[in-house]
C-alpha cells in the first residue's frame, strides 16, 4: 500500500507575531516544525504501512511506501527531513515562487497535482488542520480536487480488501465510515502518539535526497496556483487582545458572596 502524507511546516510558537504591513506571519527567528497533527497523520501512515505486511514485521524499503509532500518555502525541507527521520521513505518539496500566497483552494490544487504526479497513492493522509491557519480545509479540498472519498477527523484507521474503515471523532459521538480507496483522510491528535525518530534514521534523513518539484514539474495551471489561484485574501491579521487581569474579591465567605452579588447586580446581567 502506498500512502502519501501531506505536511505543513509551521512556526513553533503560540505567540504568533504578524507583520502589520503585509499581514503575513513573521517567521524570522521562529523555529519551523511539522504541524503537530500532521505528525499524527504520518504516524498513522507508518503504522498502516507496517500493518499491511503479512506479519507486522519491520518494513523493508520499497514496500508499503510512505511519501511525504509539503508545499512551502525552501526551508520547509527541514520539516520533510524530520518526517524522513520518523520513517517516511521519500520526501518531496513543492517549491516555486508561483506557489506563494496560496490560500486553501490553491494549496489543495497544488497538492492534488503532486499526488497525481506521484501516481499510485492508495491513501492520502493530512492532519486535521494547521496550528497557524486553522482552516481545516486543505484535506477536504484535496479530496474534491482528486475526486476521491474523504473522511475527516479520523481517530482510527484500518485497511482491508481495498477498503478503508475509519473512525471519526465528532462533538459527542463517534462515527465509523467505510470508503473505497484511494481516499483522503484527515487525522486528529488523539489518533496516536507520534514516534520519536531513531538515531539511525536521524542520521539517514540528514543525508537523504529531498525531491523538489516546481509548478512546471506539476504542469500546474498558473491561474490556479499562488496569489492568482487564491480567491481568499487575508485582509487583516492580529493577535487577540490580552484579557484583563480580572478582579479578586477577598474576605470571609459572607463578605465575598455579598460583594460578588453586588457586582453581578451592577452588571445588570442577573435574571430577576
Amino acid at each position: 500500500m502506498n500512502i502519501v502524507v501531506c505536511i505543513k511546516q509551521v512556526p513553533e510558537t503560540t505567540e504568533v507575531r504578524v507583520d502589520p504591513n503585509t499581514n503575513a506571519l513573521i517567521r524570522e527567528g521562529v523555529k519551523g516544525i511539522i504541524n503537530p497533527v500532521d505528525e499524527n497523520a504520518l504516524e498513522a501512515a507508518l503504522q498502516l504501512a507496517t500493518a499491511s505486511l503479512p506479519q507486522a514485521r519491520l518494513r523493508d524499503a520499497g514496500e508499503g511506501k510512505v511519501t511525504v509532500i509539503s508545499m512551502g518555502p525552501p526551508q520547509a525541507e527541514e520539516a520533510l527531513r524530520q518526517a524522513l527521520a520518523m520513517g517516511a521513505d521519500e520526501a518531496i518539496l513543492l517549491v516555486d515562487n508561483a506557489f506563494r500566497g496560496s490560500d486553501t483552494l490553491a494549496t489543495s490544487y497544488t497538492l492534488a497535482a503532486a499526488v497525481r504526479r506521484i501516481g499510485d497513492a492508495d491513501l492520502i493522509l493530512c492532519g486535521k488542520q494547521a496550528i497557524d491557519g486553522d482552516t481545516g480545509q486543505v484535506g477536504p479540498g484535496l479530496a474534491e480536487r482528486l475526486g476521491v472519498p474523504q473522511v475527516t477527523f479520523a481517530i482510527g484507521l484500518e485497511v482491508a480488501d481495498g477498503k478503508l474503515r475509519a473512525k471519526r471523532v465528532l462533538d459527542d459521538f463517534f462515527e465509523v465510515l467505510e470508503v473505497k480507496l484511494p481516499a483522503v483522510v484527515t487525522v486528529v491528535k488523539q489518533a496516536n502518539d507520534p514516534r520519536h525518530p531513531s538515531m539511525r534514521n536521524v542520521l539517514k534523513a540528514k543525508k537523504a535526497e529531498i525531491k523538489k518539484w516546481s509548478a512546471a514539474d506539476l504542469e500546474a495551471d498558473p491561474k490556479q496556483t499562488g496569489f492568482d489561484g487564491s480567491p481568499t485574501q487575508v485582509v487583516k491579521v492580529w493577535p487577540p487582545e490580552k484579557r484583563g487581569g480580572g478582579k479578586k474579591i477577598e474576605g470571609s465567605a459572607d463578605e465575598v458572596a455579598g460583594e460578588l452579588a453586588k457586582l453581578i447586580k451592577d452588571m445588570n446581567i442577573a435574571a430577576g
Binding site: 520519536h196 525518530p197 531513531s198 538515531m199 539511525r200 542520521l203 540528514k206
Partner: protein, 382 residues
C-alpha cells in the same frame, strides 16, 4: 581539545533533547515513585538506538564516540535520573566486551546489547570488596571446559533485569588483584540467581541486586581477557564507568539548576522575586559555574579516551568533582526552594537524595582522591 559537535552529533543531540523533553521528563517523578524497573523508558531507548551509542556499527551500534555517549547521557540523566543510570550501568557491560572481547564474544554479546534486546550489568562489588577491588572473594575454579563460580556480588545496578553480566572473579586468591579473572555470564545460567534488591535512599526504580553464584558453570569461551588479567579489565571498565558517573552527576546537577532558576523568578518575598536578592544570585552563579566545570572535566576525560590517550586520572577527577558538584548544587536548589524544596511537591529533594549516590558509587570520593593523588605524586616527582 575541541568539543565542537559535528552535524551528526548535533542532529542526534537535538533528537535526544526532544525525546527527553516530551517523554522522559514529564514522567520522571512517576518513574521514580513506581519503584519498578522503567521498562517502557528502556524499550524506547532501545527503539531510538540509544543503547548502543559507542558500539561499532559492525556490531549493530551507532559507532559514535564516548564524548557523544556522555553528552547523550547528560540529557537522559537531566530529564530522568533513573533512566540515565540504567544507560550508564548498561555501558559497564558493553565497554569491557568492546575492549577485551574476542571477535566471537563481540558478535554474540555486543549485537543484542547494541539493540537493547539485552541489558548489561557489571558485577565487581562484594560484601568485602568495594573500594578494595583486589579483595574479590567470588571464586572461579577451572573444571574441564568450564569455570565453576561460587560467591556473591552486591549492589549490582541493572541486576535481575540485565541478561548479560560481566563478572569479576578470583581464579588465584594467592595473587590478590593479580589473580582476578572476568567472565561474561548470561542470565538463566544454572547456579546463577538473584538475591536481595537493596532499598535505597533514592533511585527506587533502579535495581541494585545481589547476584548469587552457586556452583555456576560458565564455559571457558566466556572468559573476558586473559586468565588472571581481570584486574585490568575491571580498572579499564571502571575508568569509563567514572566518566559515566560524572555524566550522571552533571545531569542531576543541571536538573537542579534548571528547576531552581525559574522558581527564583516566581517566588515573591518582601514584595519582589527572590531572584533580585544577591544571596540567591550568588548561589545561582556558583551552581551554573560548577555545573559547567564539571561538564568540561567530564568531556575532557571522554575526549581523551576517544583520542586513545590515557584518561584514568582525568576520569577520576571528573567523577570526584562532578559528584561533589551534584551534591552542592542539589543542596543549594533545595535551599532556594526553602520549605517547598523539602517537600515532595518539587523534584529538588529527590535530586538531593539522588546526588549522594554519585559520591559513593564506582569508587567513593576518597578512592577518586587516592587515584588522582597516585597520578599526581608520580607525575610531579622530579
Amino acid at each position: 581539545m575541541d568539543f565542537t559537535f559535528n552535524e551528526d552529533q548535533t542532529a542526534i543531540l537535538e533528537a535526544v533533547r526532544e525525546f527527553c523533553r516530551e517523554e522522559l521528563a514529564p514522567r520522571a517523578k512517576e518513574t521514580d515513585e513506581a519503584a519498578a524497573w522503567p521498562a517502557e523508558n528502556v524499550r524506547k531507548l532501545a527503539e531510538l538506538d540509544l543503547m548502543g551509542v559507542p558500539i561499532p556499527e559492525e556490531y549493530g551500534g551507532l559507532g559514535m564516540d564516548f564524548l557523544t555517549w556522555s553528552a547523550i547521557g547528560e540529557e537522559l540523566s537531566c530529564a530522568c535520573t533513573t533512566t540515565g543510570a540504567v544507560y550508564g550501568a548498561h555501558a559497564l557491560a558493553l565497554v569491557p566486551i568492546m575492549v577485551f572481547g574476542t571477535e566471537e564474544q563481540k558478535r554474540k554479546y555486543l549485537a543484542p546489547l547494541a539493540k537493547g534486546e539485552h541489558i548489561g550489568a557489571f558485577g565487581l562489588t562484594e560484601p568485602g570488596a568495594g573500594s578494595d577491588a583486589g579483595a574479590v572473594a567470588t571464586k572461579a575454579i577451572r573444571d574441564g571446559d568450564h569455570y565453576v563460580l561460587n560467591g556473591t556480588k552486591i549492589f549490582i545496578s541493572n541486576g535481575g533485569e540485565a541478561q548479560t553480566y560481566v563478572i569479576v572473579t578470583s581464579t588465584d586468591p594467592s595473587r590478590g588483584a593479580r589473580g582476578l579473572t572476568t567472565f561474561i555470564v548470561e542470565k538463566g545460567t544454572s547456579g546463577f540467581e538473584f538475591g536481595k534488591d537493596e532499598k535505597k535512599m533514592a533511585f527506587a526504580s533502579l535495581p541494585n541486586r545481589e547476584l548469587v553464584f552457586t556452583d555456576c558453570r560458565v564455559p571457558k569461551e566466556n572468559m573476558l581477557g586473559r586468565e588472571n588479567a581481570g584486574f585490568l579489565v575491571a580498572m579499564r571498565t571502571l575508568a569509563v564507568g567514572r566518566i559515566g558517573m560524572a555524566t550522571g552527576a552533571v545531569g542531576v546537577a543541571r536538573a537542579a539548576l534548571e528547576a531552581a532558576v525559574p522558581y527564583t523568578h516566581q517566588r515573591q518575598q518582601f514584595g519582589q522575586p527572590i531572584s533580585n536578592f544577591q544571596a540567591i544570585q550568588f548561589m545561582v552563579a556558583d551552581m551554573a559555574t560548577e555545573v559547567d566545570c564539571a561538564r568540561l572535566l567530564t568531556w575532557r576525560a571522554a575526549w581523551l579516551k576517544d583520542q586513545g590517550k590515557p584518561f584514568e586520572k582525568e576520569a577520576a577527577m571528573a567523577k570526584l568533582y562532578a559528584s561533589e558538584v551534584a551534591m552542592r548544587t542539589t543542596t543549594k536548589a533545595v535551599q532556594i526552594f526553602g520549605g517547598y524544596g523539602y517537600t515532595r511537591e518539587f523534584p529538588v529533594e529527590r535530586y538531593m537524595r539522588e546526588a549522594k549516590l554519585f559520591e559513593i558509587v564506582e569508587g567513593t570520593s576518597e578512592v577518586q582522591r587516592m587515584v588522582i593523588a597516585n597520578h599526581v605524586l608520580r607525575e610531579l616527582n622530579r
